[in-house]
Amino acid sequence: MEILTNEVKITGVKINYFFYCKRQLWFFTHHINMESNSIDVEIGKEVHEEYFNRNKKEIAIDEIIAVDFVDNNGIIHETKKGKKLDRGDKYQILYYIYYLQNKGVKNSKAVVHFPLYNKKEELELQDNDIRVLKNAFKEITEIEKSDKPIEVQKMSKCNRCSYYELCFS
């Protein structure tokens, strides 16, 4: 499988960061991680632990992806503390589906739960998504190998980012 033989390991989090912010991805792939300072991340972890505690949780596969849990039908279940998926979250989960399909799991799809908003959303992998993902693999590898991150660009989402203080100090 192509993504496994890649010299740069593409993990789910990297996919997420790639779509969220390429500067953050560079920091993350160089192990400058800011999330331990983030209250949002702490809340996310609590939500995660609070729900579905009867099911087996956090299944790590090949140290590449970590899904919240997979049910008997091979469907991936994820929990999110917010009320919708951003592009990074969406592709992170689509990548899980892609990864499992490549491992031979048939009919895999994902259900995302938003327990704080009492709703859920289903995700299926389309051909177009595969093209987007494959392109991301290539770019992630390049970002990881480069010796500097891209220049800082102020965007509205920066204010909520756990890397904000690092980028703008």
């Binding site: 160089h30 192990h31 010796d147 500097k148 203080e165 703008f168 100090s169």
Partner: protein, 329 residues
Amino acid sequence: MKRNYYITKNCELKRKDNTIYLEYNDGRKPIPINDIESIYLFGEITLNTKAINFLCQNGITVHFFNYYGFYTGSLYPKETLLSGYLIVNQVQNYLDLDKRLTISKELIRTASHNILKNVKYYKKRIDELTDKVYRIEKEAENIENAKSISELMGCEGRIRSIYYSTFDEIMGSKFEFKTRVMNPPDNEMNALISFGNSLCYTAVLSEIYRTQLNPTISYLHEPGERRFSLALDISEVFKPILTDRVLFKLVNEKIIDKNDFDETLNFCYLKEDGRRKFIKEFDDKLATTINYPPLNRKVSYRTLIRLECYKLVKHILGISQYKGLKMWW
């Protein structure tokens, strides 16, 4: 925001379930683990491995002070934020003298800017300081020409000694100071400076722990010599901002007086009450917020220390040049 806990009374520090308890002779006090930033132990405190393990698991640094209030060491939990890439670059910036000088010069430039800011503030009221401001400014010019770390350190030493010579004037000779003496301090003022600087050092160390920086690899001070020397480096920037300003207030507003020192030991040590007053002012200072334009937010003085670490990280990685925190307020 998490808080620093300063424990000055004798007690037992225990873990019960997932909470830390302070057990005194006459009762106990719980402290929620998620509320702790760092712990400072001043009294005679008993703690067992169960408590130590629990604190370490939660990444809480514990700073120890002896009977006389001297800093003796820290419990520095296992590093969880590790970046081999950053450490390699941190070392590389040390090995290359030009790179090492670049960082060291900016540290001293920033420290002397902050020192001058303090003296100039009092110059408005005290004419005698005009000459000393001039002398510090003159000495600071040598920073740029320094070709070696020892030259730079010499320059820093001279600035500091002129600076300390202003203390008697700034604080109206309430306590006589003369010259800076450490280990052990020889009078009240030296005792206050030593105590304040150790609080500053530990505050910086706690913040370094929250970053990927390795605390033993430093630039101005020699790395890893007895201490976490990167904390000494960064402290240079913050001593005038934190320690000295707190000190001026404590003395000038007569919050601390002769009775706060242990007379039997030549006034060289702060008594428990004196320490408590100092700690209170210092901690209030750390929690005070100011508007920080680059972030377009209000940040606490403690966050300013963290931001200083981030700027160093970016400099070390070649992302952006380190510019020290020069007081503008």
